[in-house]
C-alpha cells in the first residue's frame, strides 16, 4: 500500500501499515510488520513535526502557572510559543507572559551567559511573586556552548528561588517527543522532592500527563475527589511550582498521557517507590475503567461503581442522541501521540470507526496500542506529511478528520469536516461531560449545511493568467 505522493520517497512505506484481513499487518514496504517510528524525518517531506524546544516549553513546562517562562535564545522561539496553547489554569500569568534573553548577533559571537543571568534577575524583579524561573535552552545558545546550568545555579543564589534549566535545544531529537523527556527529567531532578510537607498522604494521587487543555481536568478531578481522594499535583495542567515540589508524596500516580509523562512516573517509581497506573480519561468505557482502577488501589470499588452509575445516567441520553446521528461515520485521527489510540474506543462508543490513525511523534508502544484497536482494513501511519494527509483526505475520503490547527485549513480546502483534537473547538473533551462536548462538536462538524452547499454549488478555479502552472504534476487526474 503505497501512496501516489510517495513514488519518489519509498522509505515512507516503512512508516505506513494496513491491518489486513485476519488481523495481520501489511506494511507499506511489503515486509511483515511493525512500522518505523520515532526516527529522523525525511528532509523536505513537509512534515508536521515540531522541535524539542516545542515539546519542552510548549507542552510540559509551559502550563506551570506561577513560573517565569524564560527562553534562552533569540526572539522567535519565545514569540511563537507564547499564549496559543490553551493549557489553562486558575490564574493566567503563564498564558499572558513570555520572557526571552533575546540573543543578538553579538551575544552569539561573544556568548550569552551574562545576558541570561541579567535576564533572570530582571524578570524576577518585575514579577517577584513568581515561584520559580524556568529557563529553556534553544539551538543557538546550545551551539555556542553557553553553560546555562551554571548560570541557573548562580541565579538561584541571587534570587533565592528555583531556577530550572531545561536543555531542550530544538535539534536535540527527531520530534517534540524528546522535549517531553527533557521536561520530565529536569522537573524531576530539580523540583520534585525539594519540599517535605507533613501530613497524611495515604489517600492522594497525582494526575500525570494532563495539560488541562480548555479545562479538561475539571471534567474528571471532581470524580476522583468524589472517591475521597485528594489530587496533590497535576503534571502539568493547572499546576504550581510548589505542587511539583511535593509531587513525590502522592500514594499513586495516575498516568494519562503515556507518551509525554511516563518518564517522571518511572523516575518516581525508582526513587520513591510510587506506584503508577495507566489510564485513559476520554470516553465512557475508559473513564469508567480509570475510576475503577484507581478505586481498586485504595479499596474504594463500591464508591466507584456508585459514581460511575450516577455520572452515566447524566450523560447517557445525550450520548444516545449523538450516537444516532454519528453512527457509521469513518474517521481519520491524526494527533501528536497517544490521543490517537485514546480515542478509537470513544469513537466506537459513538458508533464511528477509525479508518486511518496517525501520530506526529508516537513510539512503538503507541503504534502497538493503535494496531490492537483498529479494525481490519484500517491504516496507521507515522509522522504523516502534508501530501500524504492530502492523499488520505482525497483518496480514502474519511467522513471526519480529527487533527490540529495546522491541518485544519487543509481539510477545509478539501471540503472535509474537521474537529480540532489538539486545542479543541469548544472543549473540554475529557471525562464523561467532555465526551458530550466532543460528540456535539463532531455532530456540528459533520452535519453543518456548508458541506451540502459545497457539494452542490462549488465550482472549479477560474482560469488565471498563469493557469499554465495551475494543475501541475500528479494532481490533475480526477479520481
Amino acid at each position: 500500500m503505497q501512496f501516489k505522493c510517495n513514488e519518489t520517497l519509498p522509505e515512507r512505506g516503512t512508516h505506513i501499515a494496513l491491518k489486513a484481513a485476519g488481523g495481520g499487518c501489511q506494511r507499506g514496504d511489503g515486509t511483515s510488520c511493525g512500522i518505523v517510528s520515532n526516527s529522523a524525518t525525511t528532509p523536505g517531506d513537509m512534515t508536521e513535526r515540531g522541535c524539542t524546544y516545542a515539546g519542552c516549553r510548549g507542552v510540559v513546562g509551559g502550563p506551570v502557572k506561577d513560573a517565569i517562562q524564560l527562553t534562552h535564545g533569540p526572539i522567535g522561539c519565545a514569540f511563537f510559543s507564547w499564549g496559543y496553547r490553551p493549557h489553562l489554569a486558575d490564574t493566567d500569568f503563564h498564558m499572558k507572559y513570555t520572557f526571552v534573553s533575546d540573543m543578538k548577533e553579538t551575544n552569539i559571537v561573544f556568548g550569552g551567559e551574562k545576558k541570561l543571568l541579567q535576564s533572570i534577575i530582571e524578570a524576577n524583579r518585575e514579577f517577584p511573586e513568581a515561584k520559580a524561573v524556568f529557563v529553556y535552552n534553544t539551538c543557538a545558545t546550545a551551539l555556542i556552548g553557553d553553560d546555562g546550568r551554571d548560570v541557573a545555579k548562580q541565579a538561584e543564589e541571587i534570587i533565592g528561588k528555583p531556577v530550572v534549566f531545561f536543555e531542550c535545544e530544538g535539534f536535540k531529537g527527531v520530534s517534540q517527543s524528546m522535549g517531553h523527556h527533557v521536561g520530565n527529567e529536569t522537573i524531576f531532578r530539580q523540583l520534585v522532592g525539594s519540599i517535605e510537607p507533613e501530613g497524611d498522604f495515604s489517600r492522594t494521587i497525582n494526575i500525570v500527563g494532563d495539560y488541562n487543555i480548555k479545562n479538561d481536568i475539571r471534567t474528571f478531578e471532581y470524580l476522583f475527589e468524589a472517591l475521597g481522594l485528594k489530587i496533590i499535583t497535576r503534571f502539568t495542567g493547572n499546576v504550581g511550582v510548589d505542587e511539583l515540589r511535593i509531587m513525590h508524596k502522592a500514594a499513586l500516580n495516575v498516568i494519562h498521557c503515556q507518551r509525554s509523562a511516563t518518564y517522571i512516573a518511572d523516575m518516581m517509581h525508582d526513587k520513591y517507590g510510587t506506584p503508577a497506573i495507566n489510564v485513559t480519561l476520554w470516553g465512557i468505557k475508559h473513564m469508567s475503567q480509570a475510576l475503577r482502577d484507581t478505586a481498586k488501589f485504595f479499596g474504594l470499588e463500591a464508591e466507584a461503581e456508585e459514581i460511575i452509575e450516577r455520572e452515566l445516567a447524566k450523560i447517557q441520553p445525550k450520548i444516545d442522541y449523538y450516537r444516532e446521528r454519528l453512527k457509521g461515520k469513518t474517521v481519520f485521527i491524526y494527533q501528536g501521540g497517544p490521543r490517537t489510540w485514546h480515542w478509537i474506543e470513544l469513537l466506537r462508543e459513538l458508533g464511528m470507526e477509525t479508518m486511518t490513525a496517525a501520530t506526529t511523534f508516537g513510539h512503538d508502544d503507541d503504534y502497538e496500542k493503535i494496531f490492537e484497536q483498529i479494525s481490519e482494513g484500517a491504516m496507521m501511519i507515522d509522522n504523516p506529511n502534508v501530501p500524504e494527509i492530502e492523499e488520505i483526505l482525497t483518496k480514502r475520503r474519511p467522513d471526519l478528520f480529527i487533527s490540529g490547527n495546522k491541518e485544519k485549513y487543509l481539510a477545509y480546502k478539501l471540503g472535509v469536516p474537521f474537529v480540532n483534537g489538539h486545542t479543541y473547538d469548544t472543549g473540554p473533551y475529557a471525562g464523561f461531560i467532555g465526551m458530550v462536548n466532543f460528540a456535539r462538536d463532531m455532530d456540528k462538524a459533520l452535519h453543518a449545511p456548508i458541506w451540502g452547499t459545497l457539494r452542490n454549488r462549488a465550482r472549479p478555479a477560474p482560469a488565471a493568467h498563469h493557469s499554465a502552472h495551475g494543475f501541475a504534476h500528479g494532481f490533475e487526474e480526477a479520481d
Partner: protein, 475 residues
C-alpha cells in the same frame, strides 16, 4: 517635542516582534507555485506555519530540512540536498526559496554552495533556487522579508536586452501587509490605468477561495516570468522603507529602474504621496474614482473629528507600519502618546521625532521596546486607545482600554487579513472603526450624539482622559 527612549533591559518581556524566517516565508508565499525550505530544526518551520495559519486561516505549507543532533555535528549539507530533491520530485514547484536559521547559520552551513552543488548534479532542474539569510538573532521578522526582497532583486531579474526595453509595468513592493491591503493597492493602480508588478503578491495565495478540485498550487501570486522581467519596469515603488527599500535601490543601481521609497500609505497624506508618485512616473491623471474616494476620506475625517480629537493613543509594531499609522492618527486629531517598536534603528526614531513635530503631536518614541514596557507606561499614564497586533490584548484586558487590531499577527479575531488599512478606502474603514470603538466605550446604551456630547453615560462607560487632563465622566 517628542523624545526617544531606548528600552534598557536585558530580558524581553512580551516582545512585539518575532524572527526572520517567517518574513522570508511570507514573502515567498507571494510567488505563484514557490515553495520554502527552511534549513534548520523542525520547529523553525512548524512554529511560523502555525502562526501564519492562525492569522490567515489558510493551509500554510513550508518544508524543513529536519536537522538533528547528528547533522548538527556533521553539517546539514546532506539534509539540504535531500530536501531539494524531495521537494522538486514531489511538487515540481516554480521556484524554491531556502531560508536559514540560527542553527544552520551558527554551524556555518554554506547554503548557496549546496544549492550550486545540487544544480550541478541536476542540470535538468532549471527553476530558480534562491537562498536567503534569516537567523533569528539578527533583526526582526521584517528583516527576513527585507532580506528576501533584496536577494530577489539581486538574483531574479534578467537584464534588459537593449536600452530602453520596458515591460510597461511598475514594480510595487507593498511590504509586510495583509492580502486585503494588496488588493486595495491593486485597485488604486488599476484605477490609475497602470499595471503593477507586485513584489510579492500573496493577496490570493494567503486568502484563497474554495474550489473543486483544489488547485495543486494556490491561485495567485507573482509569476517567476514576471520576476524575471522586473528589471524592465518603469520604476519601483517601495511602500515600506525598511521592507523593500533596499530592493528598490538594487533595481535602481543594477538595472536603472528609478526607485521611489515612500511611507506606508496609511491616511490621507501618505496615500496622496503614493498616488502622486504614480502620476509623476507615468503622467497619468488622477482618475475620478480615486478623487471621489479621497473626498470621502476627507468627509469621514470631518464627520468624526469631534469624537477623536484629543484622544491619547498607544501604537506599537513594525517601524513602517508605525510611520504610516502616525500620519492617520494625527489627521484624526489624536495624539500618539507612545510609539513603540522592537526595532533598534536610531535613524528611524529620529525621523519619527521630525515627523511628529511636523504633524504637531508629541510622542514618546520607544525603540528596542516590548509590550511589558508599554504596559508599564500605560499604567502610569493611561491612554484612550491601543493600536497594534493581537499580542496587545493582555494590556487591553488588564487596563480595560480598547485595542484596535491591525498588523501581524491578528490571531484572536476573524478575517482581519482580508481588511485593508491602506489607501483612501483603508483609511476610511479605520476611521470608522476607531470612532465606533470610542462610541461603544463612551456609552453603549446611548445612541444619540447629542446625549453623548453632554456626557451622559451608559452602564459600561469608562471615563475618558484627554490630553489636558480633564475627564468627561465621573471621578
Amino acid at each position: 517635542m517628542s523624545c526617544v527612549t531606548l528600552q534598557d533591559r536585558a530580558v524581553a518581556i512580551n516582545p512585539t516582534r518575532s524572527c526572520a524566517p517567517i518574513g522570508a516565508m511570507l514573502a515567498n508565499y507571494g510567488i505563484h507555485g514557490a515553495i520554502t525550505i527552511n534549513h534548520g530544526s523542525q520547529g523553525c518551520a512548524t512554529y511560523p506555519r502555525h502562526q501564519m495559519a492562525r492569522h490567515f486561516r489558510e493551509p500554510v505549507e513550508v518544508a524543513t530540512t529536519s536537522l538533528t543532533e547528528k547533522t548538527t555535528v556533521y553539517g546539514g549539507r546532506n539534509n539540504l540536498l535531500a530536501a531539494l530533491k524531495n521537494i522538486w520530485e514531489r511538487f515540481h514547484p516554480t521556484m524554491i526559496m531556502v531560508c536559514s536559521t540560527c542553527l544552520s547559520e551558527t554551524i556555518g552551513d554554506d547554503i548557496p554552495g549546496v544549492i550550486d552543488e545540487f544544480k550541478e548534479k541536476n542540470p535538468d532542474i532549471t527553476i530558480p533556487i534562491m537562498s536567503v539569510k534569516t537567523p533569528s538573532y539578527i533583526g526582526t521578522h521584517t528583516t527576513g522579508f527585507d532580506n528576501f526582497l533584496t536577494e530577489l532583486a539581486n538574483t531574479m531579474p534578467e537584464r534588459r536586452k537593449k536600452k530602453g526595453e520596458t515591460n510597461g509595468k511598475i514594480n510595487i513592493i507593498p511590504g509586510w501587509v495583509n492580502p486585503g491591503d494588496i488588493r486595495e493597492l491593486k485597485h488604486i493602480v488599476r484605477e490609475m490605468g497602470l499595471h503593477g508588478l507586485w513584489l510579492t503578491d500573496y493577496s490570493e495565495t494567503l486568502d484563497g477561495g474554495y474550489y473543486e478540485p483544489r488547485p495543486h498550487f494556490a491561485r495567485g501570486g507573482t509569476t517567476v516570468e514576471d520576476l524575471r522581467s522586473s528589471a524592465k519596469s518603469l520604476a519601483t515603488i517601495a511602500l515600506q522603507r525598511h521592507i523593500g527599500g533596499e530592493a528598490a535601490r538594487v533595481y535602481e543601481r543594477r538595472h536603472n529602474v528609478p526607485a521611489h521609497i515612500l511611507p506606508m500609505p496609511i491616511g490621507l497624506a501618505n496615500t496622496d504621496a503614493f498616488v502622486e508618485t504614480l502620476t509623476e512616473i507615468t503622467d497619468h491623471a488622477i482618475p475620478e474614482a480615486l478623487q471621489v474616494e479621497r473626498a470621502r476620506l476627507l468627509d469621514a475625517l470631518v464627520d468624526t473629528h469631534m469624537f477623536t480629537t484629543g484622544l491619547r493613543v498607544a501604537l506599537y509594531g513594525d517601524p513602517d507600519l508605525l510611520e504610516g499609522l502616525t500620519g492617520l492618527v494625527a489627521e484624526m486629531g489624536m495624539t500618539p502618546a507612545y510609539i513603540l517598536t522592537a526595532d533598534e534603528r536610531k535613524p528611524w526614531a529620529e525621523r519619527m521625532v521630525e515627523l511628529t513635530q511636523e504633524l504637531g503631536v508629541e510622542s514618546e518614541i520607544i525603540i528596542k521596546g516590548d509590550l511589558h514596557e508599554l504596559h508599564k507606561r500605560i499604567k502610569a499614564n493611561p491612554v484612550d486607545l491601543i493600536i497594534g497586533h493581537s499580542k496587545g490584548k493582555f494590556i487591553s484586558d488588564a487596563e480595560k482600554i480598547p485595542l484596535i487590531r491591525l498588523g501581524f499577527p491578528v490571531e484572536d479575531r476573524f478575517g482581519y487579513h482580508r481588511r485593508s488599512i491602506v489607501g483612501y478606502n483603508g483609511a476610511i474603514s479605520l476611521v470608522d472603526e476607531i470612532t465606533n470603538v470610542v462610541f461603544e466605550r463612551k456609552a453603549t446604551a446611548v445612541v444619540s450624539n447629542t446625549l453623548l456630547e453632554i456626557g451622559v453615560e451608559g452602564h459600561t462607560s469608562i471615563p475618558f482622559t484627554f490630553t489636558n487632563g480633564s475627564t468627561n465622566g465621573k471621578h
